[in-house]
Amino acid sequence: MRIDITHLSYRYRRGIDAVHDVDLAIADGVTGLLGPNGAGKTTLLSLLTGILKPASGQIVMDVNARAPQTARPYSIGFLPQRFSFANEMRCIDAIAYAAWVHGRANRELTALAQQALETVDLADKANQRIKSLSGGQRQRLGIAAALAHDPDLLVLDEPTVGLDPAQRLRLRETIRAIGDSRPVILSTHLIEDVTHVCDRVAVLSRGRLAFDGTVTELVNRAAHAGGPTGPGSAFERAYVQLIDELETAQ
């Protein structure tokens, strides 16, 4: 599957350009969406998931690249930064209901829910109530809910926030594995998430696309420019340098 975003813009009522003339191509694998606070990441995700309608530009999804034999319209799985479950529900019921809400047929629900739970390594918790899950497990259950209807595109907004290192590591593995089968857009503040998980990275700054390429390309770009040395990973330093350049330029 391939997603082509062309000249995408969105302006809030109070006149702020949240996203401005963004061109971006997203293919299979995990694409990291980086940017400082207020860069427009959440607005771009909302445009991608249909919560907001673009002021101009378009998003074209080539579903047939993924499943040419099916004629169904593209679908998106979205895990917002803040989400909740009804704690009294059993895991499998919540995931099956999520699949149903996203339009899947009744006969498919149990299989879809089990498959989603297996994907996030929660199959053994299927019949447990959600209130018994840890924070990391709930986060993975959220991804399972977003995956439940087998979407063409998975959009994750800060999925690792609030998790301890072990939980974060496990979730990254999960996201990495999901990225093997479909495009995943991962919005995050955490550089480590990007370096460990993402094939590509898109950096937003003040609503504009400041960089679009692989992690290695961003690091190389910084190296060619004689970027800063010191603490932190090479990618971290490259990202900070890019943001600094943009701030200075603006």
């Binding site: 249909g50 909740s84 009804a86 529900m89 919540a94 999520a98 149903w100 809400v101 009744n106 629900l109």
Partner: protein, 422 residues
Amino acid sequence: MNPSFLLRRPPLRWPTYLTAGLLVGLVALLGNSSSYGWSYQLWDLTSAAFHQRLDLAGPVAAFAGAYIAGRLTPPDRIFSLPRFPRDAFAYAASQLVPLTLACLGGYLLGMTPLLVLTAQSATYGRLDMPVAATGLLGLVAFLVVGWAMGVVARSALVAPLAFAVAFVATLAGYSGDAYAAVLPVLYITPPLGYEQAVPLTVFRLGFFFAASVLVLLGATSVLRRRTFGRRPPGPMLLAAAPLVALVVVAVSTRPALLQEDLEASSVCRTENAVEYCVHQGNARQLNGMIASVDPVMDRYGVTNAPFDRVFDLSLKPSVPDADAQTTYFYDLGPSLTPAGGVSNVADTLAGVITCLREFRDRPDAPEMTAAADLSARLLNGPTSTAPAASGLAALTEPELRTWVSQHVGAIRACAITDSDLP
């Protein structure tokens, strides 16, 4: 939408819905308990119980609806995110259908003992299906309104408020009949001889249906339009506008509450030249009424009595005015014993009723005392142990009838003085 999903896999599993249904059924069951001990039942009362038991079942249903919506529909719920592709009506149905089935099932179960008792003991009529349907539709309206409150409030914490609002709506019926057409609980029960007016019933059915649909439309519109941010419940206000119009129509036109039951028939028997008749619904009390009244009439003398017909009060609408002058209307009902009204018959014959009117400010007037003594004598016969200073207690039955015939004018006018007494 395949409805089988709603039944096979409701979002919160069946025990949640069944608990709500059980509670609804329990309050209905207990609400009817005062009538379980009656010697017989009346279909009119049983039909009315279908909406009257909403006095608590309705608020419980509203609580359950608000709870379900509060648990499932907040926009940060992972299965309830804004812009989900499933149709909002289907989404609403996935939550409301299992709850509605459970609550309606519970309610019907709660009403079953009364239905069975009525089927076993009622001697007239049948379940008034449209009236009973107003109760069931009213229950659905409570559920939908509660659910809509949960959708708008986005929290199950609104459930107690939904209960309170619904409870106030049920209590509003006590304020009179001005809002009878639009309030779920109608406290006026048609007495035998009457039935709930058909236009009123039709309006109520239409109103509860419209209310349910409009509130559901408003709530689903809120679901469709919402984002993560808060929005005023504009669609709910839009949905409320036609409802307000219907309420205005109902309040301004005030449809009649009751109409005569034209199918009503009577069961009669003549005993000692007195014709006794009861409504077919009270047929089980005819013998008891005769057994209670006949000795009193015999002691007074049928020819002396101002009436030679004792009719069930329920038959009054069907008795012509001319005949009503010579008819005593006896209050009967499943919660009354046949002997309960006989003292009133004795009081009427003895002139006590007239005396109470004439000597309202002088309860110790000799005329009043004489009338009360005569009433006691009519009730108790010659072996009475009641105070009998007048000597009436000492008279034999023929002597009493003779004395009455000699003073019947004074008795009816409450003019018996000490000198008239034996």
